[in-house]
Subunit: 408 residues, 2 copies
């Protein structure tokens, strides 16, 4: 029998009435002939409420205990969803991540799923039950501790379960109608995509599009899980995230995104010798800090400047390493800048079309937006700019690449 | 090294400042030379908030899912307590009930602890950590499902852990100064007990004294765990609950309690033949409904009246069985009464002193309080009376047995 995994995010689980609404959608899909697995997030605002309590006690609370704390939010949601399904006459059973063997590594706060034991879920599905699983959480194989997958991790839970169960579909229910070429809040009239490739979605997700967690897309790509991103507030089709299809090649640029969550760190006056980049980034990786963009300037007088970006939330940790980092590479000084933002254009069409980068740079220049760093991939170009110019940058790029309806 | 288990109830965990206060008490006790295990309840009001969400979806939500839901409350508390201890420089680690092998039976909502695997806790204690354990919850051995021990179950968790760890002390922190001879809210000037025997405390707890859960006292008695019931809001000694000591024999009556949570059920006109009581109470036990008092009248014309009391919350379930119960024993009818209350006097001294029952009955009679049912044990006499007379009954009995300071 075909299996469908549905995921309902926090806004779809915001209150009792919304939970009932989601339960109705689950049952309707089941009536189409699917065995149903439902992954839920904590009720909207709950994770923040819990972490604020920890923060009030200790702003640098241990990651293990924060995972113990935050994972309680999803546990509440699974029980309420199972109760709502049962009230509507649908047999149902809820499970925490550990209970269904979602095994992760030991990195609290951003654990990665290593394996899922699908036997218990399949057994309950075969008994005719809808299985409700807590998103965002797992259990470390070594210690049995509860781990969380990081913000947005419920998407990853859903896709990983879909892969483990060889599900035919994975529906991600959220509070927007699908994936848009740009944030409709920034660019009124931004167009919704009917389909998008895993690779493009991956760039969009990594670049800060809030609709889908990037690790969920990685998983979906790896296991070829067809994703359907759609709204829980209506029955309209959303956006399918699938393997690349030829018609996509027509689009040079399929999206513009921005990200204000990063900060820039620069090490200035670094002597130019082999192994410098390794010396820096090994130390940073050892603290589990994710680095995004990295730029190394051409050497002048034998001295380099090396800049990179990290999540703003990781900046205190990087500042703690200031002495260590400057000493390690003999840098003159380390400076940081929080008032930056990243704007990116994404599209598989770039592979076969020249000039996208040039159009992007000249559009920004026409709008008096200075570019501080640039990084590129096969299907993406990102520019670091001043934070206060980012919305203007997104709008002008959407106009340039025709991503929004003209009535803006 | 000596071990102390401390339990902090919901009012002691009411907000961040109170949690910090409790953490300081934990550390202070540890400095006296104890390895510390801390059992915590959900933050005040949290369990009710969670169960109200379930209730809003389905007033008869499944017990399994309600346990999944409610147990999230304690999970929040353990993480916050561990964080507070760490912030104060004390190494600490939190565990859910399932994580430390608190294994229970399958009776969701009022599960009984079957065993505790103390190895993980002892290992962490030996590493110098304070171990914080979620009260109120366990895991069913058969299914791995999360279970809860019923309201007040955190007391039981604490005592069971103290027994499993062969702890030297078990301190129960609450929002009152100890065990009183009567409810100070009903009887101003009610005296605090310095010591009380397990048996007396058991009767007090069963009779509705809110200070300690009766199953916790059963456990403490069985494993001879010395309990110290005290306030988390001051450093005064509270009440020790211990084995019987000779000086206690002087007290004929050590407490008066009342309970308004029960309802009376009567089966009228039941033919008098063997096996009738069994027929009724086997059916009720099968639904996991607890029965407290049972009275069977002397047969007249071959017909009996059988009355019993159950928790008011169980009354809907009993009413659902009306047809079944009357049919099973051939009763004429079944009637129920919610407007009743139970008043009890308790004291080990009753064993060696006559006349306590007579004094109780005549005190109630002098106050024009009608007695509807009576039940007795070796150290307790309970009378069922009209609910609206119960506070007057408690006050007059305290006066009769001199349990409150004269300035009332």
């Amino acid at each position: 029998m075909a299996i469908c995994v549905q995921k309902y995010g926090g806004t779809s689980m915001g209150d009792v009435e919304l939970i009932r609404n989601a339960a109705r959608k689950v049952i309707a899909k089941g009536k189409e002939g699917f065995q149903m697995v439902v992954v839920v997030s904590a009720m909207a605002g709950e994770t923040n409420r819990l972490l604020a309590l920890a923060d009030a006690i200790d702003p640098r609370a241990s990651a293990r205990e924060k995972d113990m704390l935050a994972s309680a939010g999803e546990q509440v949601s699974i029980a309420l969803m199972a109760i709502a399904l049962q009230k509507l006459g649908q047999q149902s059973i809820s499970f925490t991540g550990p209970q269904v063997g979602i095994v992760t590594d030991e990195v609290f706060g951003q654990a990665r799923i290593k394996s899922i034991d699908n036997q218990r879920i399949q057994a309950e599905l075969n008994r005719g039950k809808v299985v409700v699983v807590a998103g965002f959480q797992g259990m470390s194989a070594v210690s049995g501790d509860i781990t969380t997958l990081g913000r947005g991790g419920s998407d990853t839970s859903a896709v990983a379960l879909a892969a483990a169960l060889k599900a035919d579909e994975c529906e991600i229910y959220t509070d927007v109608d699908g994936v848009f070429m740009a944030d409709p809040n920034v660019v009124p009239g931004a167009k919704k995509l009917e389909k998008i490739s895993y690779d493009e979605m991956l760039e969009l997700a990594s670049m800060g599009a809030k609709v889908l967690h990037h690790r969920a897309v990685e998983f979906a790509k790896k296991y070829r899980v067809p994703l359907h991103v759609r709204s829980s507030f209506n029955d309209q089709p959303g956006t399918w995230v699938i393997e690349e299809v030829p018609e996509m090649e027509k689009l040079q640029v399929s999206g513009v995104t921005s990200n204000k969550k990063e900060a820039k760190v620069s090490l200035l006056g670094v002597p130019d010798r082999p192994g410098i980049a390794a010396a820096i980034f090994e130390k940073i990786a050892a603290k589990n800090i994710l680095v995004d963009m990295i730029i190394q300037n051409v050497a002048e007088n034998g001295l380099n400047d090396i800049s990179f970006t990290v999540e703003k939330s990781a900046l205190p940790d990087v500042l703690d390493m200031k002495e260590e980092l400057t000493a390690a590479v003999g840098a003159r000084e380390m400076v940081t800048d929080k008032d930056i933002a990243k704007v990116s254009v994404i599209g598989v069409g770039m592979r076969s079309h020249c000039g996208v980068a040039a159009r992007m740079f000249s559009t920004l220049a026409r709008n008096n937006i200075n570019i501080e760093m640039i990084s590129t991939s096969e299907i993406k170009i990102s520019c670091l700019i001043r934070e206060q110019q980012v919305d203007q940058a997104v709008r002008s790029l959407c106009e340039e690449f025709n991503l929004a309806d003209s009535a803006k």
